[in-house]
């Protein structure tokens, strides 16, 4: 009996590597510390009532941001482990198995569990405030989206200590990801972790499309929306069209693995190439899903910190929409070398190049927003200015890669790695950081320390170039991606070492950011104005942090930059806009269902990973029961009385 348990445990838990034991211990200690702290300070009810069951978009946004920063930490540690292994030739710091797991989890985590939630966090924190709404269209669904993401991400991360991590690359091409070549549970963790959080992403997409189309404040026509709102709309529409493909693709892979089907197997008439097509039909739009909101963020920041209107509004809108449309017709450029023939390659090469046109136009419009402006270099603007040259160069190498016959020489090499890191770090990560710095005072009511922020910016930026510029050259030297070691004879040593140094510089940049946040919490520099940057859009017209109902009375937004115009009117001695009388505000009630239901999904997913039906079936029944419970619950909303609104507004030092 004891032997059996031992045997089970040795397969169930990942063993054998001191690194993993270390992680085990630190995870265990952190958990114990959290539980102890919550119990000691009697915070369990607070946690449940104020956070786990909340349907308030602002709190959900904060939870997204916290979760994504944790994931950034893990993905970053993965990256540094890889760079350490590659720093010197023939290194034995990581075994090939371990290295394969790490680059797989690094990719999945950075795209799906870092960039996506950080983006959703910003959607949640900003969109309702920016369009003058009191919440998103479906607050309950919003909370469910978050918890599905959260438990999906947890399920994926559990594979680090239980069962073993996936190791077939971030897109898990079959047949490598099939049972025949990956019989372990890692691949199943991959499928269910992404599947569960993917359902959440899809629902967020639906939620924000409806929110933006239907919940805007009076006067705000579509062509008067802030550019960030436009970018979120285009990104959400892209989610709607792309994510169902991911859901199906992963489901088919699961059916192959679980029921022995033959969608993508080598035998039985399966077609692995179909998987590669399907996954990129989602995967390419996915890249634009995350970068479009970053474009929106830069547009807001450039206008605010140049104290000038955004240049070329209509061009910008058209560019956003055409990028999200074209993103669906470029997927095959990820495999020009599959031998699809010249005509197919030319088609996809040209569609890819076409995307460069609206993207280039956006850069020009940002530049001319700054032109004849008054640029102040606050941290959000620094990231924006850092982004522009970085993205220009990254975009250029992207065009080079789109030239199909040339791609035969770039494909799968470090040139490609350098390119997509340049657009994803330089575009997406810089963009989301900029957004986070920009809206931080609005969300938390205090500013982040500018001086440490500048340190963070410069270390990140310098680190980025030191890390990735050598990788372009390594690609031209013939270094292929995903190799876990290389010999001294290759001559790749110096550049790899340089690249590793750059990687660690970025790691230091991250530490600066953590320090910046902690330092700013301690020496809290309160934002009492609600408008610390001289903002232009509606979110800056209300106190920081925003009250639970956001707007006491709905603002009238007849111009493109309504708050900027309002401030100008007031400065010119005009009267403030008349505000309608206060009315009780209708709000959704908190609900524990999203949390519990997502926890059941976790249980079901875990059961399916290990093929334990005794666990999976109750999990799925739990999911269904939660849905029914919610359907039968008609007591889902309440009203905030006028008195309470008055008290809240007065506390925010605003006279009504």
């Amino acid at each position: 009996m004891l032997d059996k348990i031992k045997e089970f445990a040795s397969e169930f838990f990942v063993t054998g590597d001191p690194l993993i034991y270390g992680a085990d211990v630190s995870i265990g200690l952190t958990l114990i510390a959290v539980v102890t702290a919550l119990t000691y300070f009697k915070k369990w009810t607070w946690l449940w009532r104020d956070w786990l069951t909340t349907v308030d978009h602002k709190k959900i946004g904060i939870m997204y941001v916290i979760a994504s920063l944790l994931m950034l930490f893990r993905g970053g540690v993965d990256a540094l482990l890889m760079r350490t292994q590659l720093a010197i030739p023939d290194a034995e710091f990581l075994s090939p198995e371990h290295y394969n797991q790490i680059f797989t989890t690094h990719g999945v985590i950075m795209i799906l569990f870092m960039a996506m939630p950080l983006m959703f966090g910003l959607f949640n924190l900003v969109i309702p405030l920016q369009i003058g709404a009191r919440d998103v269209a479906f607050p309950f669904l919003n909370s469910l989206s978050f918890w599905l993401f959260f438990f999906g991400a947890m399920l994926f991360n559990v594979s680090f200590v239980i069962g073993g991590s996936p190791d077939a690359g971030w897109l898990a091409y079959p047949p490598l990801s099939e049972m025949s070549h990956s019989p372990g549970v890692g691949q199943d963790f991959y499928i269910w972790g992404i599947q569960i959080s993917g359902i959440g992403s899809l629902m967020t997409g639906i939620n924000f499309v409806v929110t933006i189309l239907k919940m805007r404040t009076p006067g705000m026509k579509l062509m008067k929306m802030p550019m960030f709102t436009w970018s979120v709309l285009s990104s959400s529409l892209t989610i709607l069209l792309a994510f169902p493909i991911l859901t199906v693709t992963l489901a088919l892979l699961f059916i192959d693995r679980y029921f022995g089907a033959h969608f993508f197997t080598l035998d039985g008439g399966g077609n692995p190439m179909m998987y590669i097509n399907l996954i990129w039909m989602w995967g390419h739009p996915e890249v634009y899903i995350i970068v479009l909101p970053a474009f929106g963020i830069f547009s807001e920041i450039v206008a605010t910190f140049s104290k000038k209107r955004l240049f070329g509004y209509k061009s910008m809108v058209f560019a956003l929409m055409s990028i999200s449309l074209f993103s669906f017709f470029t997927w095959a450029h990820h495999f020009f070398t599959m031998g699809s023939g010249a005509n197919v390659n030319i088609f996809f090469a040209i569609t890819t190049m076409i995307i460069a046109i609206p993207t280039g136009v956006k850069v020009f419009n940002w530049l001319f927003t700054m032109f004849r402006g008054r640029i102040s270099f606050k941290t959000p603007m620094l990231w924006t200015i850092g982004f522009i040259p970085c993205f220009i160069v990254g975009g250029m190498t992207g065009v080079l890669l789109s030239v199909a016959p040339a791609d035969f020489q770039f494909h799968n090499s470090y040139f490609l790695i350098a390119h997509f890191h340049q657009v994803i770090i330089g575009g997406v990560a810089f963009g989301f950081f900029a957004g986070l710095y920009y809206w931080w005072p609005k969300v938390f009511g205090f500013k982040l320390n500018e001086k440490i922020g500048k340190w963070a910016f410069w270390t990140w930026n310098i680190g980025f170039y030191v890390c990735f510029m050598p990788q372009y050259v390594l690609g031209l030297m013939g270094m292929t991606r995903r190799v876990s070691s290389y010999g001294w004879d290759k001559g790749w040593y110096e550049l790899n070492l340089t690249s590793t140094i750059g990687g660690f510089l970025m790691g230091i940049g991250f530490l600066f950011q953590v320090w910046q946040i902690l330092h700013s919490i301690k020496f809290m520099e309160k934002d009492t104005t609600g408008d610390p940057w001289g903002g232009r859009t509606l979110e800056w017209s209300i106190p920081s942090p925003a009250p639970v109902y956001n707007f006491a009375t709905l603002p009238q937004a007849d111009e493109k930059d309504p708050w900027w115009e309002e401030k100008r009117r007031l400065a010119e001695g005009g009267a403030p806009k008349p505000q309608s009388k206060l009315e009780p505000i209708h709000m959704p009630k908190n609900s524990g269902v999203p949390f519990i239901m997502s926890a059941f999904w976790f249980v079901a997913g875990f059961g399916l990973v290990f093929d334990w039906l005794w666990m999976a079936i109750p999990g799925l029944i739990g999911v269904g029961a939660c849905m029914l419970y919610h359907s039968f619950n008609y007591n889902t909303d309440y009203y905030i009385p006028v008195d309470e609104i008055k008290r809240t507004e007065a506390a925010a030092r605003r006279v009504i």
Binding site: T217, L252, N271, Y634
Partner: protein
């Protein structure tokens, strides 16, 4: 349009009518959300159809679809599902007349027809497996079971959902919330009907021809 919702939220509860109107607008949002969900579901089925078409010749030495499909049963399934779509429409008409009994009655008929459809489909699958065409026989059969099964799963979920709505109708009667729920489930049901027509044409008709 955008404004009406917010205004409704802002100006509630002076009279009951206001309450009513506001719920009406929230229900309108939900209806729109459901339409968008249907778009995503269309893409889901579209992807499944695409994989089916790609794999439609990959028998890998196993039986072909035409050898095993038994059209009479499938035509019966088709008629049952089409009828159920019609009866769900009748249910909505009853609701619009304010006839709760008629509404629940037609919903019951719809559920029974849906259950009959599922029973026939499960029987068909069992026969096929018995005749040596399971999901692991070949890529063609994998695609077949997945596509048709996904539709069947949708129908089954619809059945549970409809029963839940019937109970809610019993409790709350016809109000703006239950009205929206009936409208949505009926929309869903029609959608599944349309998907089935594609399944019938692409999988069965073209498979046999």
């Amino acid at each position: 349009m955008a404004n009406s919702v917010n205004r409704a939220i802002a100006e509630p509860a002076r009279h009951d009518e206001h309450h009513h109107e506001e719920h009406h607008d929230l229900e309108g949002l939900r209806m729109m959300g459901f339409w968008i969900f249907l778009i995503t579901d269309c893409i889901l089925f579209g992807t499944l159809f695409a994989t089916y078409v790609v794999l439609s010749g990959s028998y890998a030495g196993g039986p072909a679809g035409a050898e095993l499909f038994e059209m009479p049963g499938i035509i019966a399934e088709t008629f049952i599902l089409l009828t159920s779509s019609f009866t769900s429409g009748l249910a909505v008409l009853s609701m619009n007349r304010g006839d709760r009994k008629g509404l629940i009655g037609w919903l019951i008929v719809t559920v029974l027809l849906g259950a009959a459809f599922i029973t026939l489909e499960v029987t068909e699958f069992m026969t096929l497996v018995h005749e040596g065409a399971s999901i692991s026989t070949s890529a063609f059969w994998s695609a077949f079971y997945t596509l048709v099964g996904t539709h069947g799963l949708h129908v089954s979920i619809g059945l549970v959902w409809m029963i839940a709505i019937m109970i809610q109708l019993g409790r709350h009667g016809i109000n703006s919330v239950t009205r929206r729920k009936v409208n949505i489930v009926s929309l869903y049901w029609h959608f599944l009907d349309v998907v089935w027509i594609f399944v019938f044409t692409i999988v069965y008709m073209m498979g046999v021809m």
